[in-house]
């Protein structure tokens, strides 16, 4: 859409932020445009005469920038190409760089001609909450038709499709004082706090500091605002105890003064990213004191069609001229209820922009600024309002506004005068930015001078200063800043040096503001006219009144029924106006209406920043055993086990998983296999009471275990359910080594500590986890002994000298080792442990020694099948947190002698002691080749169709290469009584029948492992 490019002639405006000597090119919706270094996308678009920047959410109304910073709700654009595309950025905060590409959103086929705009024509059918009242019939059409339509229409920008190529990082920092906001109040606070030697962080969301003081038309301590700011920032940067951050948004305030900040490190300059800078950095700050100097946000006024492109906030208009030398148009009308907008009139005038009248709601208002405006020959119409606008190009541009006389209190507008203009500057007053104040539950109170909310009840942990605290003149802002900064020093011992003196700024006395929440339109009542309150979500005054009428009275209900304040700007410009309108509609006062909850973040933050460095390979640690590289080199097929990666199997050549696993099992059964068992938990337990302690921890006895011998033990939680099992060895009179499951290692170590520290404080026992110290391997199979003997060592591996369930220490192939004769495979098996850094060396030696015996490695799946053939349980497979030792046939391991051990009493709670609980049994399918699926359920009686009553489920199921048939274990109601019965498992494909058998399928008497 055309529109005259408009930068004010050089010299007329200060152009504080742009550098005309550094022109840039960027593109918007594919059209190449030019701007200057320092421009934001919004200022550059306006300078190019591009006013139309976006479409609204619901009615797809044409929209342009209304504000100049974080408050912007209309000018949302997508920036960047391909994987770097980011939707929903505020054009008012996007700094342009050479080659930046931006696109408009929520329009089709294009921004100027948007079919979505049709919804505006039927808008009368879409009042707030209309969808709750319809689309209910027929039921099926909701999912099939209505919802898809709604979904397509909804949403703003589009997401990138590929993985984000940029990097993000986090940093934790602690400080005495965190100042949020680098306007004059924040700068003053930071200076005062820094002077006392405190550790201070100052963060401002903008590229440059000073906030809106440059727009205040005041001097600060005798200096022009910008000079004062420059001096302060220089001082802070020079200080050793201060850290100054620009482009950094203080996003959220949490419990105990934990504060999140997002620093946009590289968004404004792709060059930095190329040099390895993270795109964004998440700051996690713990501050003793948070000083909130976040300023104030101007509010619009609700009049008919107040959303038209060219209607902007007065300070924004002033800012575009003063900072970027950009005027949004050529002829401006000012509409205000306060003095501040007069500054805009003056600024426009002096920049050569025609100022049509200042329309001032107040019947009479006198102040220095007003005189100044009058003096500049600007016409002022008091006791009047702008009651509507005349537009062309489908509302995309303004031709004139309607001005009408106004007496406060709602009444109909009788007459109107037409004044031609192409843009309008509006000011309805200012709302302190109290968001951070409220994030963690801070209270706010209504100030009937500002007609807005200001922070209440300051304390040492959080203070508000300046405009954020409702102080609208520079002098007071600076004074308050200094005072707050000094206050933080009070507590400290650090010596205080002299702090900059009182602010001496000629305080401008302002004429009081006259609140106006709603301007009635001309003619009939307001039918059909849209008085926007929440622009982005298209929430109008009529919607708010409707919500009240229908009984959604609480402001929280009104919010949710109308979506007021729920857009990406979170109601920065609309919440208070909404309350004003609700107050008028209900006859209540604004404080009586209350306000909705402020929640983090202050402005939206990317998920990438939150994930930070923890993505891709760094997402979660991968724990590696000492043999990890060997596994990789030998083509291991890994599976995650907790944080470990363990070889599931080692496929050779074209082998698939299944055949690799079969081969590995047969190797162990017929020759000898080698397993990396390093992940097994290992805990040293020592002390005069160690035996007694283990007796209380395990269900079975350990105090009676002979030195050098090993015993299998079970652990229960206090509910009486199995949580871990493993073999514990007695190293000495008062010294034990406990093995836990891999998953249990850390959990059980903590479990032991907890009981020692919190319940059995008198027991003299020390516990030290040593899992990581040892590499541990199982050498298992008929030829295991031969392999051990082949490795030169100093231990006698004969059956007599080294019986099952015993251990020895010595050297093997020159490596110091502990050898345990324990077996999880049911084969003759030696578990060899050596210090982790020797692990790889010993591993290679064993493979070398085993070669002549056909030794080969095996993985976790082979291990699981080997143990299943033996009917050994796996915690987590046969157990699921609801299983007792009796349920899985381990009653023999539950001591009857001991009066107490963890979980003992619960075993006799009625339901745990009940008969007919699910019990572990073995299963033989009728067809030996048929393998029952994991988790398959048996039924009491097969019915023609569900529901059928289930009586238990398969916990482990495999094809056993050893027995050359399928085997399964299952937990079945009253299973032990069902030996020999045939159970039916209805699967999708049909019913599988299986006979209940003893779960020990192989080598029942244990000849092999004992041999």
């Amino acid at each position: 859409m055309a529109g005259k490019p408009y930068r004010v002639p050089k010299g007329l405006a200060r152009e504080r932020l742009i550098d005309r000597l550094r022109p840039l090119r960027f593109s918007f919706d594919g059209k190449s445009m030019s701007g200057f270094h320092g421009d934001t996308l919004a200022s550059a678009l306006l300078a190019n005469g591009r006013r139309l920047m976006g479409r609204s959410f619901k009615y797809h109304r044409p929209r342009s920038a209304v504000g100049i910073g974080a408050e912007e709700m209309n000018a949302l654009v997508g920036v960047g190409d391909g994987a770097r595309h980011e939707p929903n950025l505020r054009a008012t905060q996007v700094e342009i760089y050479d080659g930046l590409t931006a696109v408009s959103q929520n329009r089709w086929p294009n921004l100027d001609f948007d079919l979505g705009g049709l919804s505006n024509e039927f808008s009368r059918l879409f009042p707030a909450g209309f969808y709750y009242k319809t689309f209910m019939w027929p039921q099926s059409l909701w999912k099939g038709l209505y919802e898809p339509l709604i979904r397509r229409a909804a949403g703003l920008g589009r997401a990138a499709r590929e993985r984000d190529p940029d990097t993000y990082e986090h940093i934790h920092v602690h400080c005495d004082v965190l100042v949020a906001g680098g306007g004059i109040a924040g700068l003053a606070a930071a200076n005062a706090a820094a002077a006392s030697g405190k550790r201070v962080i100052l963060a401002d969301e903008n590229a440059s500091f000073g906030g809106s003081c440059d727009l205040s038309g005041e001097t600060i301590e005798g200096l022009p605002p910008s000079d004062w700011v420059e001096e302060r920032v220089r001082a802070l940067k020079a200080a050793e105890n201060v850290h100054v951050l620009n482009r950094t948004t203080v996003a959220g305030h949490f419990h105990h003064n934990h504060v999140l900040m997002v620093e946009r490190v590289g968004d404004h300059d792709p060059g930095l990213l190329a040099k390895g800078a993270p795109r964004q950095r998440l700051w996690k700050v713990r501050a003793q004191t948070l000083i909130m100097a976040t300023g104030a946000i101007e509010r619009p006024i609700s009049f008919a069609n107040n959303d038209r492109p060219g209607i902007m906030l007065a300070t924004a208009v002033r800012g575009y001229i003063d900072r970027y030398g950009v005027a949004p148009g050529e002829e401006c009308v000012i509409f205000t209820n306060n003095d501040n907008a007069y500054l805009t009139a003056i600024a426009l005038k002096s920049s050569g922009v025609k100022v049509r009248p200042i329309v001032d709601v107040r019947a009479r208002a006198e102040s220095a600024i007003i005189d100044q405006a009058r003096g500049a020959g600007i016409e002022i119409v008091n006791g009047a309002v702008v009651s509507g606008v005349e537009t062309s190009r489908g509302g995309a541009s303004i031709d004139a506004v309607k001005i009408s006389p106004y007496r406060s209190g709602k009444g109909r507008i009788v007459s109107e005068t037409r004044v031609a203009c192409d843009f309008l500057a509006v000011s309805g007053g200012f709302n302190p930015a109290v968001h951070l104040w409220c994030h963690n539950g801070g209270k706010i109170r209504f100030d009937d001078r500002l007609y807005s909310f200001v922070p209440d009840r300051h304390d040492a942990a959080i203070r508000a200063v300046g405009a954020a605290n409702g102080k609208m003149d520079s002098a007071t802002c600076v004074e308050e800043g200094y005072a707050a900064g000094q206050a933080t020093a009070k507590a400290s011992k650090t010596k205080k040096s002299k702090v900059h003196g009182k602010a001496a700024a000629g305080q401008q006395s302002e004429a009081p503001l006259e609140p106006i929440w709603f301007v009635p339109a001309t003619g009939k009542y307001n039918e059909g006219n849209k008085h926007f309150v929440d622009f982005q979500n298209d929430v109008t005054a009529a919607d708010l009144e409707l919500a009240q009428r229908e009984g959604y009275e609480s402001v929280e209900l009104t919010k949710r029924y109308t979506t007021l304040g729920m857009a990406t700007d979170q109601g920065k410009t609309s919440n208070v106006n909404g309350l004003g309108i609700l107050a008028e509609a209900t006859g209540l006062s604004i404080p009586e209406i209350g306000y909705t909850t402020f929640r983090p973040p202050y402005t939206p933050i990317t998920f990438g920043t939150v994930a930070g460095p923890n993505r891709g390979p760094l997402f979660l640690p991968v724990r590696q055993t000492a043999i990890f590289d060997w596994h990789v080199e030998h083509g291991a097929d890994f599976e995650p086990v907790g944080l470990w990666r363990r070889p599931y199997c080692y496929p050779k050549g074209s082998e698939d998983r299944a055949s690799a696993v079969r081969r590995e099992i047969l190797t162990v059964r017929n020759r000898v296999g080698l397993l990396d068992a390093s992940t097994l938990g290992k805990i040293e337990i020592k002390g005069p009471d160690a035996g007694e302690f283990l007796d209380r921890i395990y269900t079975n006895m350990f105090s009676t275990l002979a030195i050098g011998r090993a015993r299998y033990g079970l652990m229960l939680n206090e509910l009486g359910f199995l949580i871990d099992d493993g073999v514990t060895v007695r190293l000495g009179e008062d010294h034990f080594l406990m093995h836990t499951t891999s998953g249990g290692a850390d959990r059980i170590a903590a479990w032991l500590e907890e009981w020692l520290q919190t319940e059995w404080m008198t027991l003299k026992v020390f516990v030290t986890p040593v899992t990581e110290q040892w590499a541990q391997f199982a050498v298992a199979g008929p030829d295991a002994r031969k392999v051990m003997q082949k490795l030169d060592g100093d231990m006698d591996f004969s059956a007599e000298a080294f019986p099952f369930m015993s251990m020895k220490q010595g050297t093997l192939a020159s490596y110091p080792v502990r050898v345990y004769r324990i077996s999880f495979s049911g084969e003759l098996s030696f578990e060899v442990a050596t210090p982790a850094n020797f692990g790889r060396g010993l591993w290679d030696a064993i493979i070398e020694a085993g070669r002549e015996f056909g030794l080969d490695v095996y993985g976790t799946e082979a291990l699981h099948i080997l143990r299943a053939e033996k009917g050994f349980i796996v915690i987590g497979d046969e157990t699921d947190g609801t299983v007792t030792p009796h349920d899985v046939g381990l009653s023999w391991a539950v001591s009857k002698k001991k009066r107490d051990f963890l979980g003992k009493r619960s075993l006799s709670q009625p339901y745990l002691a009940a008969h007919g609980r699910k019990q572990l049994v073995g299963l033989y399918t009728e067809d030996p080749q048929e393998v029952l699926p994991d988790g398959a359920h048996a039924v009491e009686r097969v019915e023609p169709k569900p529901p059928m009553r289930t009586i238990g489920h398969v916990t482990s199921s495999y094809f056993s290469p050893t027995l050359n048939r399928s085997i399964a274990m299952a937990l079945i109601d009253n299973g032990l009584k069902r030996m020999g019965e045939t159970l039916e498992f209805p699967l999708e494909k049909g019913i599988v029948k299986a006979k209940v058998v003893d779960p020990v399928f192989f080598d029942k008497e244990g000849a092999r492992q004992n041999g």
């Binding site: 689309f135 609480s554 988790g935």
Partner: protein, 417 residues
Amino acid sequence: MMTRYSIFSIARNAMNYHKDWDRAWRSPQPKPSYDAVIIGGGGHGLATAYYLAKEHKMNNIALLEKGWLGGGNTGRNTTVIRSNYLQDASIAIYELSRSLYEGLSREVNYNVMFSPRGLIMLCQTEHEFRALKRTSHANRLAGLDCRMITPEEVKQLVPLINTDAKARYPILGAYYQPRGGTARHDAVAWGYARAADGRGVDIIQNCEVTGIRREGSQVTGLETSKGFINTRKVGVVVAGHTSVIMQMAGVRMPIESVCLQALVSEPIKPVIDCVIMANTVHGYISQSDKGELVIGGGADPYNNYSQRGSFPALEHTITALVETFPFISRLKTLRLWGGIVDMTGDRSPIISKTDVVGLYVNCGWGTGGFKSIPGSGFVFADTIANGRPHKIAEPFALGRFAEGRLIDESVSAAVAH
């Protein structure tokens, strides 16, 4: 008789600019006495009141809400609806609930936007894979329409998901409930409220219960911020505040209140059509009809009534989801919040009579009770009306804790959202 909502009533009202809609519900002052009083204006309380009025013709009843309707967890939950639980007792109540959701909009003449868009539970470890296979067999035999699907099918349903087999937690498969989905949380509360009001229930907001009066073991009334109310039947349905209210009657509960948080992204054009749960990494995500990604994860560990949580829980969830859905890295969250959830010892709910005659409690839905609102309301109303547990409610009685008759869903490796 209230106006029926329909496209026609909207068109009619459009004529005069929607100025004639009547109230969705009255705002009455409490009467001195009621046949029964429900404490708590969340989904469960409102549904209970509705079914008491509709199914049991109890019309002289009131519902007391200390704040605004749905202002508790119902108004702040991520709206995942499914019934594919493991234990029979759970399946029964959650499936009853899900099936009631299917017809709820018309039942209450209020569009609650129940959207059975399909729910996917990812299997990202062998252990989770086994656990969900087990659940799938149990569910099939219970008659639920659910099935295991392959990574390829997952990719078809959610093209933007990361199915890289070398991922830290590769997607080995998934458990799919085609008619699981979401509903509009506020609308569920409002719909029940409007329908209950239509049947004469007094819904009283801004009315906080401050005391429970009893004579001997019999409840006789409630002290409230709006005065004393006589009643001999009280249904306590206050989620996170259960312990606080029950303490007023001297009843101790097996509950801890902790903060569960959620967040939404800025609205974007459709990218995710189903609900996806990645339980191994504690994250789940769906996209609302407005276009925001609605995201939730695990709860904070410590007792908390502040409705404000700690960031690590959210950071953990977001980190996991960026890994599972790399495309969200450059999307932004616009708001995060917390709710106070009532966690029981076995993570399953309590629907029960108590030792105090006339005092009934429905709680412990913890992180997963939005999906159960219609079913829970239905059986709780029946329990209160008849003074004995409804069949489906029986297993959820308080007594189970002393018997050790736990209903442990953590078994199915799924967090209960």
